[in-house]
Each structure stands twice: as C-alpha cells, then as structure tokens.
C-alpha cells in the first residue's frame, strides 16, 4: 500500500511537471503576415509600399460613404458647382447630403457624410504616402540608398502634396501631416499660405527623381506619377497661389514635353471609357482593370453608376449604356449650363458627347438589342422613323418609377455614363473604365489663364486648341472671361468648376440660382399631365419642364459669402480634436460652420 501511495504521488507530480513549464506552447505564430520590423527594407518593399498609395488613391476617388449609391469624391468635387442638379429621384432622395450641398439647403451642415468620408480618406492616403517617405527617406534622405527607393519616395511625395492641395483648396487650413502620426496625435490647422508654399516646394523637390512619360502613347505613363503630372499639379498649385510666372514655367514644360496631346474630335466621346483609357490627353488617371484573381472585392472596378452622374428613369435604355438595374441618382445638367452651351455650340462634338437632349436620347441612339428585343423596327421589320420613335410608347420616361423627375431640365448626362463596352466580362453591372484625375485640356487652360493674367499672348493658341478640338467656335482674344467659359464647357463635371468660381470671386453670383430659383421637374408631353404615365395625350414625346419653388431659399438656404467657399471640418473630426485656445492644440472650425 505504501508503495502504491508513493508511486501515485510521484506520478502526479510528474504529470504536473510535464505540462507545467513549457510556455513555448503558447507561442502560436500568426498566419499570412510578416512582422512590421521585417518590412520596409528592400527595393521590393518600397515598390510594395508605394502600391498601397495607388490602391488608397482609388479608394479616395471611387468608393464612398454610401457605397454604391454615391461615391463621395464625385459629390464633394461637383455638388456645389453650377453645372449639375443633384437629382436622386425625388427631392429628398437618399443622397447622404449630396442634395443638401448641391442646393445650399439649410440642412447643409458639418455632418454631411460625403464631406467626412473624403476628408478622412484623403488623410488615409497621406498616411500611406508617409509610410513610404518615413521608411525609405527618413528625415534627410538617409534611408534612401537606391534609385528605386528615390523614385518611390518621389511619387509618394507628389501624391501627398496633391492630397494636401486638395484639402487646402476645399478646407482652407487643414493640418499639414508630413510624417506618420502617433495614435494620440492632436494636429492643428495649418495656415493656408504656409500650406500652399509647402505643397509647391514638395512638388519641386520630388521632380528630379521622377520618371517621365514616354511619349503621348505611353498609357502606363498616365497611370502613375511622372515628372509630367508633377509639373501639371505644380502649375495648378501655382495658379491657385497666383504665382502666374511660376505657373507658366511649370505648365509650359508639360506642353513642350511632347508627352501629351489632345485626342482628335472624333475620340471625345471615348474619353471616359475603356477606349480612352491612358490616351494622350490623360495627365493622371487611376487605372481600373477588373482582375479575375481579385474577384469583385478587389475594388479595381466601378459598380453600376459608381460615378454618380448617372440616370435611371427611362423605360428602356440605349444599347450603348449598361443595362437598367437598381437605383439611380438622376443627376442632370443645370439650366444655366445647358443654356450657355446650347447657345455657344449647340451641335459640337463636345456638346453631344457631354449631354443629350430628351429628343436625341429617344431618337439618335439604337435600341436594337435591349433585352433581346429590337425596339427600332416595327413588327414587319421596317425601321421606325424619327417621328414614329417619338410616338413609341416603349420609349421615354418611366412613370412606374417616378411621377415626374426631380431636378431635371430635360437634358441627360452622357459624358460619364458607363457604357456597355466598359463592362467587365460576364457582368451587367461592373465596369472598368479609368478614373481621370487630370486631363491635358486643364493644363492648357491653366496656362491660358496664367497668360491672360499676365497679358501674355502665348496662351491664346492653347485656348483655341481646346475649342477647336471640341468643334466649338474659336476665340479671337485671350481674355479671362474666354478662359472661364471654355474651362466651364470643357471640364464640366470634372471637379474644377466650384474651386474656380470661388477663386475668381464669381461664386456668389454664379451660385445664386441654386436655392433661390424654382426647381425643374421633368415630365413628358406624351402623357396626360397627372396621369402618372397611365393616359397618353396623343402628342409625341417631348420634355415638359415644370418649375416648382421647393422653398429652399425660404427655409434659410442659399450661398453664404464668407462661409460656403470652404467645406466644414467634419463634425466628428472636430469633436475628437476640438480647438483649445489655451494650449493651441486642436482643430478650428471654418468660419460660419460652428
């Protein structure tokens, strides 16, 4: 018995001891990751880190607060301008604030989700740039020991400066973030002029280490940061900084480089489609190629109306467009823009590529194979005439979806509409056209502006180069007004207009109409008014605009001078980091937005 006891105790102690000591049992390596300390070393690491900058850039411009409905970047760069109505199907559509900003309603405040989204994403992009710069450049280049690293750092610096330029333009005095911040950082506003000077110096500093585009047909040269687009960004910043001579110098270098050229008139319509990806006038664009390996979660594509300037209200759609599905934003060109362009160049290739009239939409496009049916022929196979198309009940506005179309003047975007040819294989909703950040005409027109401001006649040729290519009347003189008009038409909905209006001091007058004028509601004379498309009037299809005062002005809306020039710092951002006058820490809200 004693023996048993002894052996049992020995056994137990041994058992305890066996598992007791070895803490290595607790070390379970994580799968699919590598340690932070082991990264940011080699040239390959530098390229890998730089890749995340471009990846993040795509996130900035193409996803958004409300995902598939409203890419925030488009809202932020276009909504407050005078070129578009933010439709949304009805007057209180689910636009996450797009309509409020667009019409300067009294509900336009510092909680607009789109503004918050873009602000945050822009700093995420800056963080990605800083990871490259901090880890491969250091303070004074001490970490940079190869040409590859130099180039990667330079590209990251350009993107970082571009992002700061974007922030400075829309928010005035955003924080300058030139290194990776700690988790408990409390950044503060940066003086606008200080920021602009820093941005310009950064573009200049990066320039020597960048590669140049290899000629106008070098498509990949448009998909990344090169010396050409660095100079173009620099020139734009200099224009904004009213450094006209500096701007002329930078922009002229782009023009004379020979690496950029306007595409022929016949290719205008292809500019924002796969056929125009990386063409000679793309200064910088983000490359979208659907990749089977990434699947549909990789983000290198647009989902349906991802560019937001889309419409979804027709019964059937022209073949050229992607298939009807889901919801739409129904954004539309403003009366101001349409009237001006129709007066100036009613039949130019540019006008037709930018927008269609209702009649053109119904008669000039083919509807031959929509869902397997040919709507352009009668049952006996003979083609429909124009008049017959206008009497065709299959065509036109779909009153099953809308009684009447909010904020539409009878004209329809075509410029950014996703086309069937942009679709990725085996999809009816996903397209892969690139997202343009800067186009050569902007370079030419910025140069023209700098010349106009300095009475330098050299700019006129470039102004007319743009107009001529568009199929529009050319100008006899280089005036600022001519540059303004040409830029309005050429770069419509490309996100330059609002900043230009503010910069030129034109915003209060140009944007006065937004809350103050009645809103157009589109109906169709084909139907008896008020029958919601149930009773035909016997008349042909024709846009029928009704103007309704929605009362935005009466409820306190409208452009406020001294406030609406800048976006508010988002409510959440200020709340986390409020300005403390005692310590000088925190973020001050922009004027009028408190």
């Amino acid at each position: 018995m004693k023996k048993n006891i002894l052996s049992a105790i020995i056994c137990s102690v041994a058992l305890l001891g066996l598992t007791a000591c070895n803490q290595d049992l607790l070390n379970i390596p994580q799968k699919g990751v590598i340690a932070y300390e082991d990264f940011y070393q080699t040239d390959d690491d530098a390229l890998s880190a730089l890749t995340t900058v471009y990846d993040s850039f795509i996130t900035v411009v193409s996803s958004g607060n409300n995902g598939i409905n409203n890419p925030s970047f488009n809202v932020v760069i276009n909504a407050p301008g005078d070129e578009m109505y933010w439709g949304g199907g009805k007057k209180n559509g689910s636009s996450s604030g797009g309509q409020d900003m667009n019409e300067f309603r009294n509900t336009y405040d510092n909680t607009i989700p789109h503004i918050k989204y873009v602000y945050k994403q822009m700093y995420t992009l800056i963080y990605k740039c800083n990871l490259v710069i901090d880890n491969f450049w250091g303070e004074n280049g001490e970490l940079c020991d190869s040409q590859t690293k130099k180039r990667c750092v330079a590209e990251a610096r350009v993107v970082r400066a571009w992002a700061h330029f974007f922030l400075a333009s829309y928010w005035g005095t955003p924080p300058l973030v030139d290194h990776v911040l700690a988790g408990d950082a409390r950044p503060t506003n940066c003086d606008h002029q200080v920021l602009m000077d820093w941005i310009i110096s950064e573009f200049k500093a990066a320039l020597p280490d960048l590669e140049a585009r290899k000629g106008p047909n070098d498509k990949p040269g448009a998909y990344k940061i090169t010396s050409g687009n660095c100079l173009a960004f620099l020139g734009k910043a200099q224009v904004f900084n009213k450094d006209w001579e500096g701007a002329k110098n930078s922009l002229k270098q782009v023009i004379t480089s020979g690496n950029y050229a306007l595409v022929p008139q016949s290719e205008i319509k292809d500019l924002f489609h796969v056929a125009g990806d990386g063409n000679s006038e793309k200064v910088f664009e983000l490359n979208y190629v659907y990749n089977e390996g990434l699947g549909r979660t990789g983000g290198k594509y647009h989902y349906q109306r991802n560019n937001a300037l889309f419409f979804r209200m027709l019964k059937i759609y022209p073949d050229i467009l992607i298939k009807e599905e889901g919801w739409g934003n129904n954004c539309a060109p403003t009366k101001q823009f349409v009237d001006a362009m129709m007066a100036h160049e009613p039949n130019s290739a540019r006008r037709k590529a930018w927008f269609s009239t209702y009649e053109e939409m119904l008669t000039e496009y083919s509807y031959t194979n929509f869902k397997g049916k040919n709507y352009d022929v009668k049952s006996d196979g003979t083609p429909l005439t124009r008049e017959e198309k206008l009497m065709d009940a299959n065509r036109g506005l779909d009153f099953n979806k809308y009684d009447e179309l909010y904020a539409n003047y009878g004209y329809f975007f075509m410029k950014f509409m996703p086309w069937a040819c942009d679709l990725i294989p085996n999809s009816s909703t996903i397209t892969e056209e690139n997202r343009t950040v800067m186009r050569y005409p902007e370079v030419l027109l910025l140069y023209a502006e700098a010349c106009a401001m300095t009475n330098d006649p050299d700019g006129l040729q470039y102004l007319n180069m743009v107009a001529e290519r568009a199929g529009a009347p050319t100008y006899s003189a280089l005036t600022l007004d001519n540059v303004k008009q040409e830029k309005w038409f050429e770069l419509a909905w490309e996100g330059t207009r609002f900043l230009d209006l503010v910069r030129w001091g034109d915003a209060p007058t140009a944007l006065h109409f937004k809350a103050n004028d009645p809103t157009p509601y589109l109906d169709d004379e084909f139907y008896v008014d008020g029958s919601n498309g149930k009773k035909k009037s016997g008349k042909p299809h024709k846009a029928w605009v009704k103007w309704v005062d929605d009362g935005w002005a009466a409820s306190g809306g409208g452009y406020v001078v001294g406030k609406h020039e800048l976006y508010p710092f988002p409510f959440d951002v200020i709340e986390l980091n409020p300005w403390d006058p005692e310590t000088g820490v925190g973020l001050k809200q922009n004027p009028g937005w408190d």
Partner: protein
Amino acid sequence: MRKAFLKKATLCLAALLVGFMSYAQTRPLSGKVVDQNGEPVAGASVIVAGQSSVGAATGIDGAYRLMVPAQAASITVSCIGYVSQTVPINGRAVIDVTLAEDNEFLEETVVIGYGVQRKSDLTGAVASVRSAELLNRSTSDAAAALQGKAAGVQIFNDSGAPGSGSSIRVRGISSNSGSGLGPLLIVDGLKVDNIHYLDPSMIESMEVLKDAASAAIYGAQAGNGVVLITTKNGAQSKDGTIFYNYKLGLSQLGHHAQVMNAQQYIDWQHTAGLMGTAEELIATGVWDGVTDTNWADVLYGTGVTHNHTIGAQGGNDRGSYFLSLNYVDENGMARGDKDVYKRLTAQINADYKVKSWFQVGTNTSIERYEQQALGEHSEYAGSSAGLLGTLIIDPLTPVYFKSYDELSSGMQRAVDAGVQKVYGPAEHPGWWYSTSKILEGDGINPLIYRDRNEKREQGWNIRGTMFANFTPIKDLVITSRLGYRIQQKYSSNFEEPFYVNVKAYSTTYSISATSSQDYYYQWENFANYNHNFGKHAVGAMAGMSYTFSDSRSVGASLTGEDPLKGYAENFRYLTQDNGSGTKGISGGAPSNSAQISYFGRLTYSYDNRYSLQANFRADAFDSSKLSEKNRWGYFPSVSAGWTISNESFFKDNVSRDIISFLKIRGSWGINGNISVLSGYPYSTSISYNSKSYQFGEDNTLTLGSQPDGLANPDLTWETSVQTDIGLDLRMFNNRLTFGFDWFNKDTKDLLVRISPVAEVGISSTTVNAGSINNTGLEFELGWQDHIGDFGYSINANLSTLQNKVTYLEPSVGHITGSGFANYKLETYFQEGYPVWFLRGFEYAGIGENGKANYYAADGSITQSPVDADLKFLGSTLPALTYGVTVRLDWKGLDLTVFGTGAGDYYLVPCVYRTQHMNINSLTHFYEQAGKTIPTIDKIWDQTDFWSSSATMFDGSYFKIKQIQLGYTLPKKWTNKVMIEGLRFYASMDDWFVFTDYPGFDPETASTGSSTGRGLDKGSYPNAKRLLFGVNISF
C-alpha cells in the same frame, strides 16, 4: 422535501413488498413514525432487526403495520434523510418512533469547479437546478431549459427555429463585445462551446456560479459566470434500470403579430395619399376586392417533433454506468420541410473502482446532427431573407398567381426567358408564388425563400472526458482528467438564378460547400484534500491545466450563369463543375489556441458555523490573444459564511420549527473575460500583399503591403470585480426556503475600437477603454408541503438588474450598434446608459397642426428635431426577470405549471419604411392614428417620426412556458408486467403569452446580434407546443 419524499417512497418500496409475505408464527406490530416535529414520516422502512426480509413501509400518515416473528427482538426504522433507529420490541404491539433528521443527508452537495461542496458550506452565490426541473420539457436545448429556473440567469432566444440554441447571460451583460457575453460552459469538467447538444433529459444538475468568488477558480474565462453541468450517472442499486421516454410535440405559431388587414391597409395607404380608395384599386385591377392575405398563416402551419430517449443505468459499490440514446426529429412550424433539425446523441457515462485507491471513468457524448433553417434577422431581400416578409407584404397580394397573365411584368420576362427560376408551388403546376405588384421591395412572399433554401448543415461532435482518481491516503484524491472535443461539420448550399422583383433576383447559380474539423483537448491534474478534526474542517485543492485547440476548414464555391454539367437534383454538387464558372476557395490555414493555468482553493470551516474560502487562479494565454509581456493574469477571490442558526445563542432562543437554518455570506473576487480577444488584436503586422494596383496596360497586378493597424501590446482582457452578499434561510421545518443575493459587478478594460483623429489616417485601433457596472438583487422563494396525499410546492425566483456603462474612452463618445433603414433610431453604447440602449427622438404627442411633436434637447417641443435632440429612449435589456413553478401531485397525478417573464425593457418592430411606403405595417399604427399618433398623411414620409419613441413598445411579457399534467400508473399494476414506472403526460408549452408587444415574439425580437437586441428584424418566433409523452422504466 417533496422530492425527498418521492425518493424515499421508491427506495422503501422493496420493504413494503416483502411485508406482504408472512410467517407462520407471527404477531402483529403497528405504530406511527414521526419526525422531531411530530410530522408523519411516509415511506420509512420498518424492518425486523437482523431479518431484512421482514418489514413494512410507513404510509402517508406515517403509520405502519406488519407481522413480526414471535422471537423478534427489535425493529430498525430507517428512511433516507433521517438517522436510523433500532428500537427493542419488548413485547409491545404498538411502537411509535420519532426519527431525527440526518443533517448530513439534507445537505445536497453542489458541484463547484474541480470539486463538490455541501450546499450549507457554500459561501458564494451558486444557483442549482436539478434534473427534476428539467424533465419532460419540449425543448431539446439544455440552455433553454434553464430559463426561469434560477435567479440572476437570463436566457435569450434570438430565434425559435428548430435547432437554434439559446444564449445564457449571468448577471447582466458586462461587455460591449458582440461575442463573449455568455458564461463559461463546463460539462462534466469539459469546457464546451455550447450546451445545445445536450438533451435536458441527460442532465443530472446544472450549477450556475454567479458570483466572482465561486467562478474565480476559472479565472480569465469566468467573467460572465460559469455554468457547470453534470450529466446523469447510474445510481447504486441492486438492479439496474432501463428507461424509455417518448415525446410527440406539435408546434404552431403562438403569439401573432398584429398587422393590418386589407381594408385597414388600403385605408391607411389612402390617407397617406399613396394609394387610391378600395374602389379605385378594384377598378384599376390592383386589387381583386377579395384578397386579404395573412402572410403569417401562409408560412406557418403545424410542426411535428418526435423525441425518443432510451437508456440504461445502474451501479454498485464499485462502479456505475449511464447509457442513453436520444433522438430528436423536429420539423418546425413553417410549412414544408425546410426548417428541420435532427439530432442523435449518445451519452456514455461510466466509472469503476479498479482498486480501493484507484477509480477510472468517462463521460462521453457523441452527437450527430442535421439542420436546415430559414433565413431570418434581415430587413433586406438578400438571398437569406424571408421571415420579415410575413410582416411587411401588403395583404392585397394573393399567395399565388394562378395564370401567366397575373404575373408581374418582370416575372413574365423571366418566365419567357426561362433562365431565371420563377418559383411556384410544387403541388400546383402552372401556378406561381406571387410578388407584390404594389411595391417591388424587400417584402418577399415567404414561400419563395422557403423553397429557395437549400442551405444545409450536418456534423458530428464527440465531447467527453476520461479521468482517473487516485486516493493514496484517506481524504486525498488526485485527479487526472483528459477532456476532448472532436467536431466535424459540413455545410452546403445551392442557389439557382431566380426572379421575384427588382430587389430579389439572381442571374447566377451559386454552389458552395464548407467542411470544417476542429479538435480541442484539455488536460487537467488536480488534487483535493479534505480533512476534519474536532470542530475544524479543512479543504485544499491545487491543480493545473493545459488546453489546446485546433480548427481548420476548407470551403469552395462556384458561381456562374451556367457552371454545372447539369442541374437535376443529383447534379447539384461542386464536382459537376463544367469549367465555366467562377471558383472561390476559402480556409486552409489552421487556427490554434492554447492556455496554461494553475489554480487552487483553500476552505476552512469551524463548527459548522464559520466558513471561509479562498480561490486563486493564474492563467496564461497564447500569442493569438495577448502579447507575451501581457499573457499572464491572476485572479484571487475570498468568501465567508456565517451560519447563525448553528450559534448556541440562536439555537437556544429560536425554535427550529420556525427558523431551521439561517446563514449570511459574502464574497469578493476578480474574474476575466478572455473570449473577447482573438486574432492577434494587440499586434500590428504587415498585411502582406493585401493591396494591389495595376501599373501596366493588362490586368497584371502589382501587390502592395501595409500595416494592418496600430499595435497595442498592452491590450488585455476584460476584468470584473464583483461583490456579493447573500442570505439563505429555511423556515418551518424546511418547508419554506428563501434565498437572497445582492451583487455589484464592475467590469473594466472593455475592448473598444477607437478612432484616432482623422489626420492620423488609421481608421481604428483596439484599446482597453470602457467599464460597465451590473448590480442587482436576486430572490428565490420556495414552499413545499403536503396535505394528506396531496403534495404541492411553489418555487419562485425574481431578479433585478441595473446595467450601466460607467466609462467609455471620451474620444469614442459612443459606439453605434444596430439601426434600421434610414432611421436615426439606433442602439447605442454610451457612458451613463445601459448597454445598447435605444436612442432616438422622444415623441411628444400630436401637435395642434396634426403633426408629430418631439421633445428637443432643452425640453421644449419641436416638430423638426435635429441630431442634438436624439436621446435615451429605453433599455433593451430586461431589468426584471422572474419565474414561477407550481407543482401539485396527488395519488400518481402530477401537475406542473411553469411561467417566466421579463419586464422593463423596450422593443422596436422594424416594419414600416419611409423608403418603401407601400409595405404593410402593424395594426397599432392604424388604430392609434389620430389618437396617440398623427394620422398617416402626417407621418408617412417623416423619418423623424419613425426614428422616435412612438415606434417603440414595451417588451414586457409573461409566458406560461409549461402546463403539464402527468399520471404515473400505480406500481402495483405496472410491476405485474415488470414495469418499474410508467408515466403518461400531456403538456402545453409556450401556450399563453401575455404581452403588449404587437410583433410576433418579444423573446426572439432581435437582429440576431448582441448589439441589435430590441430591434425586431423578423425572427423565427417561438412556437406554442402541444406535447404528449410517456416515460417508462423497467
């Protein structure tokens, strides 16, 4: 007491039987056996000393009568629960005996971690539920059977679907986490992931360790309490028992949601200006004037459940065994066979004393299950939605379209093209399931998603322990125990292209399958030493454990417009891939975790008056949870009890007839909650090649790597500090039992994802930065007695809970939980309020202009509230839960009525949407229009109204969970056919529901996630059930 009586009666039966045999030379002896209080003792055996074949049992009045041999000298009177007595006969013909209670026996033992303890020695708060409480319930889920049975234990059912498990919450909710809210579950010493596999009939007892001191022996895993389950084991008896139990359950929808009928719907919609009058609708063909579909009745019919249990048990002084097979076949109340749960569980429990000092044993459960469930908890018409449809489709839509002409234009196109399936009833070829033509929205004919559902899951689980006990010297037991779980699961899905409307369609086939296999083992070695000397009793326990788990899965999917070689039933497998589809793969990487722990306990009691206990545990977790520098945690606790009733000053002055037992106790301890940590949350690594860009003209990817966040090596688990003060009282000779506990539990270091300021560029990082306080009172009250043959007992429990977030990192401000549609009503986690409270606008009645009024933040009335006016509207967590069980028995008849309820919390039925105005809604909004809420024309497009307290309802309910009437046939009949016991019963479960909630089931109202409690997004309601059963034993 009642239970004790039954037990005694059974055990003494043998004596009764032999009593009928009589000897030639005998004389009569009779008398009465009473206890110290003069109460008759029924079922006591009276045996002639030294001649166990001669004896009798006392009747219900305590009286006995037997014939004793003439030469017999004395009788022995014994009964379980009393001290046996031998009384000399001395020629008497009448002998009355007074039996003294055996205090040792009356003290049930209670399972605590790594040991057992006498209930009277408990110094912590432990709720104990015995097998009798769990018998013959309609549920096949052990957790659900716990509902209403123990104070301080809440059971939440997110779903009443067949095979869905319930979740247990002990003393409130002490985490902001989505998971890791439930207690640690230990079955026969094995840590398990759920107890849903355990049929209640296999359970001997469930102990809930509620206070920190009791739970502290489980350290970093015990922060949400511990539930210890002991499965049945064979009883020592001369002969074994074979048992068979059968239950037939019929389930139907119990509490109906009150949605508008056709006339109300049209009226309501017309008032909003969204629809014409009924006449207009008929004239335009939108409505046929007759159809008034009740969609709940369309989906729900009668479900049938069969539950068989067969087994055997027995034991002797060396060993015991319990073998049981349980088979559940549940076809839920949704019509058709798409909500089914089948489970076969074998329980094998056995132990044997190999040597006097060496015992081995095992408790093993083998489970096989198959399950198919309908989609729930979604307001959107995704591929898994469906149940919300029963609430929101308009009643004007018929169930079927009986001809092509009736189909919507979209459906007609789909039928014409023949690629997308348009579902129809199999029993009526040429018919189709309808879709609403009024609104092409998320309200989908529920039969479509039912028929579409081919999502299946099946698996095997083996869970068990093997142990060996050494007893090298008296009072010392050394246990080595290996616990194991082996889990194998296979799930598959098949979806075909279909079309219902613009929001519910698919153009592709989708076939997927996932296979997973997990194993887990724990090895525990511990020693228990208990020794009594004089008035001192000491106990010590020390041990260690090592656990390891490994889980891996592989999944594959195939999607495409035509991905398979064929689509007949027997082609719907991944292997029939024709090469054209898009393939997906998942899994392949093992996920491991490990833990090392040391633990110990010291107990001391003096003279049955003073008890002290101290626990300590040290836990270390693997690197997937915590950084190396932070992996160890230490969890101490102490508790003490004072049995006042054993003090002489008490005994001398208070009659045992009035107060038989009185103890006060208090405890304090620290526990952790480790289950919130997983996936290396403290570290920042480079997410390698996780990003990409295409620099070239083709689709060649350049891959990019970046940090996955900000590192926080200081990250640690949630820690709770809990104080408990309790009182146990028994009065009137133990007829009345009363228990009371007050607790205060502070949990700190909640894991909070904080967003650094936007300019840092990182969206979030995890820190320990939140605290929650739970405090409450728990009462348990019982009364049991009998009047002649009529025995009765009432047991009730009630607990209150105050839950409050006491700290949240100021930079976070709040955490948003769940919301609904585009409304501003959301669940919030914010300092100063209960966890996940409802936040929205506070409705202030109808304004003079007929529009809705709201309270602004400053208390004034406004009709256009702004975000600053959003405020606390109510808690989603019941502040009050209670249960009452009444048992009556009389001559073989028994009746059990059991009810449970919860109160003081709020629910929001997620029904009406301003984005889809034509969906149907609750009758409440129709009936109250113009009375307590504005008329529909004033609110139909007002998201503010639908974000206000006007859409919130009191969720309080009381449910009579069980009314069961049983009859046990008299033994004298059944014994003739060798049947030991035969009981028939009928039961109505969940039959009566008392609530003001207008949705289906206030219990299941949820989004299915812990942050969405209170938002009712269409769950499978608990059915009411009619149950017939038989229990038979041989």
